[in-house]
């Protein structure tokens, strides 16, 4: 194989990234015109790049909510191109949402059709690479039509789109029975439902006669092995029925339904989200005052107890202490609710005045580590040689896709002269409504 092929592929890869200078485009086009082998390689490159992008990302995202669509239209999507961006989630979600909208609009009979047992009532619209199904009739490939019956997901994640347009994300282990094109039965496990307006009335049954009727919204629902149901409404409203008394939950409210009665939690003044007490809130709050920390430390990072350097209490986490290698990693695995949005907040300080930025890469990953839910770099340029340093607060947001989520903090400081330290303190993760405003610092609303 010649070097010419390598050079061509380099140019073509840069072309697909938008990194090829404009003046080089025509030269690339000329090569493609002249050489069938290069056209074959180019089509391979495009195809493989697209399949890899789809395979790795597996967004399992909810179809675009009005909020997301509006944010994109207004250009609020400010996430850097380099990350798994909101725009990508929106684009893929829109593919399904728009199709379903049109499907519904142009096919009014789709709601009223009667179904035989073999009539498809839903479609498998996405699944993770590690998804394992049991008891499924027929193919479980992307786009497979699903007839009435049970779908058991042992592990991984899957997305099912009902013919009504309702979309549910399932996280294994989970068992969902599809009853008709706008109704399911969650026997056990967790689902996250997005119900566009046209699927108004989408119903999820649960053990002991519980029914959750959606009024055009987004909600999380869990059925535990004993048959208890937990419900969290993220947008819009739902009715819960089949118990006395029945009731209505609006965005930010939650309920646990056990033994025929519901315990309801409504947001208090100043709150946007009220969760049952057994759900960890905050999910994580570590000021490092008490050892051991829940984090696993690797490389040049440690919990430090030098009160004069801490801006709060007496302890903090120090990266690159002693001016050795910049290689510290702090990692922690957290028990999350799939579909729940979380706000991550922490404080960083740069001690001493050395040139360069004190930088911390923030990665939030699915349990397998295959999918990045958040990738950001927190950077502090201005240092201080007086103690304690003035901290800077960083705030990010991610949406969990599984029952466990990995948080990884990596020191990537441009600290060539080893002339400063990076301090971390007061790290906190709280569940929030996806529509809640990002709180830049200070008191959290939830």
């Amino acid at each position: 194989m010649s070097d010419a092929v390598d050079i061509f592929l380099q140019q073509a890869a840069a072309y697909l990234d938008g990194d090829l200078p404009a003046e080089a485009h025509e030269a690339l086009h000329a090569e493609l015109l002249a050489d069938p082998e290069k056209r074959r390689r180019f089509v391979d490159l495009c195809l493989h790049s697209a399949v890899l992008t789809e395979t790795f990302s597996h967004p399992l995202s909810h179809p675009a909510s009005p909020m997301l669509s509006e944010a994109k239209r207004r250009g609020i999507d400010s996430a850097p191109r380099s990350t798994y961006t909101l725009s990508r989630i929106v684009a893929l979600a829109a593919l399904i949402a728009l199709a379903v909208t049109a499907w519904f609009v142009f096919s009014p009979e789709s709601q009223t059709a009667t179904h035989t047992p073999s009539t498809p009532v839903a479609m498998l619209s996405d699944h993770s690479a590690d998804a394992v199904f049991v008891g499924a009739d027929g193919s479980m490939e992307l786009g497979s039509e699903l007839a009435r019956g049970s779908l058991s997901l042992i592990s991984g994640t899957a997305q099912v789109m009902f013919r009504s347009g309702a979309v549910v994300d399932l996280t294994g282990p989970c068992s969902l029975e599809m009853i008709d094109d706008n109704r399911g039965f969650l026997h056990t496990g967790t689902l996250s439902a997005y119900v566009p307006d046209q699927a108004h009335g989408f119903t999820v049954n649960a053990p002991h006669g519980v029914r959750v009727v959606d009024l055009g919204t987004r909600f999380l629902m869990t059925v535990d092995p004993s048959g208890g149901t937990q419900l969290i409404v993220l947008e819009g409203a739902v009715h819960y029925e089949g118990i006395q008394p029945a009731g209505k939950l609006t965005a930010g409210s939650s309920a646990t339904i056990i033994d025929g009665s519901a315990q309801v939690y409504h947001p208090q003044p100043g709150q946007t989200l009220a969760l049952p007490p057994h759900i960890r809130n905050p999910l994580l709050h570590d000021d490092f005052e008490t050892a051991p920390s829940g984090f696993t430390f690797r490389g040049n990072v440690n919990r430090m107890t030098q009160a004069q350097r801490a801006w709060q209490g007496h302890a903090y986490v120090g990266f690159n202490i002693g001016n050795s290698d910049v290689n510290g990693v702090a990692e922690q695995t957290l028990a999350t609710l799939p579909g729940m949005t979380y706000q991550l907040q922490f404080e960083l300080g740069k001690y001493l005045l050395g040139e360069g930025a004190a930088r911390l890469d923030v990665d939030v990953l699915t349990e397998s580590g295959d999918t990045t839910l958040l990738h950001e770099t927190a950077s502090v340029v201005e240092g201080s040689d007086t103690m304690p340093v003035t901290p800077t607060t960083f705030t990010y947001r991610f949406t969990a896709r599984g029952l466990t989520t990995r948080l990884r903090l990596t020191d990537t400081s441009t600290n060539h002269a080893s002339a400063f330290d990076l301090y971390l303190d007061n790290i906190r993760i709280v569940p929030v409504l996806p529509t809640a405003e990002l709180t830049p610092s200070g008191n959290l609303k939830n």
Binding site: L16, D19, A22, V51, L52, Y84, A91, A99, E141, R163
Partner: protein, 173 residues
Amino acid sequence: MAIEQDTIVRVLVKDRARLLAYIWAIVSDVHVAEDVLSEVTVLAVKKREQIADEAHLAGWLRIAARTEALKALRTDRSRPTPMSDQLIDLLDAEWATRDAQSSNDLADALQICMQRLSPRARQLVKLRYAEGLSGAVLAEKLNQRIKSIYVAISRVHRALGDCIRAHVARESR
């Protein structure tokens, strides 16, 4: 007789990677490609009366994708000169040779071939496609020259392409 809407949705979900690739080749920006793909999705459902069946849909989607991709380029004057019709026609002939292979089979072959890459190459693929880092951003992140990154990416793709061709040839025997 018009195609069923659910057939359109099923085909679009199943083959979205292939259609995304086709559009991406023309617009040279994956984000623009995803926007165009959304437009094509809406069009397909709106115009379903013009589409007879699943076989017709495949060709219809490609024509719509080509039209919408070129329209997207025309509306952004900062974009470089688009491909000529002659070049797109030639590439269409190449795309047509891939129609028989299902997206799922290709994804399976890619997964198998990924396992044959070196750990470093797999890491590069992961950064490039899982995290969506472009070559320029990768170069900055890894503190390498951009040319070195594209050399590595091109080698990975060449290895993957050769492996997939061999895999498909074995499977078709």
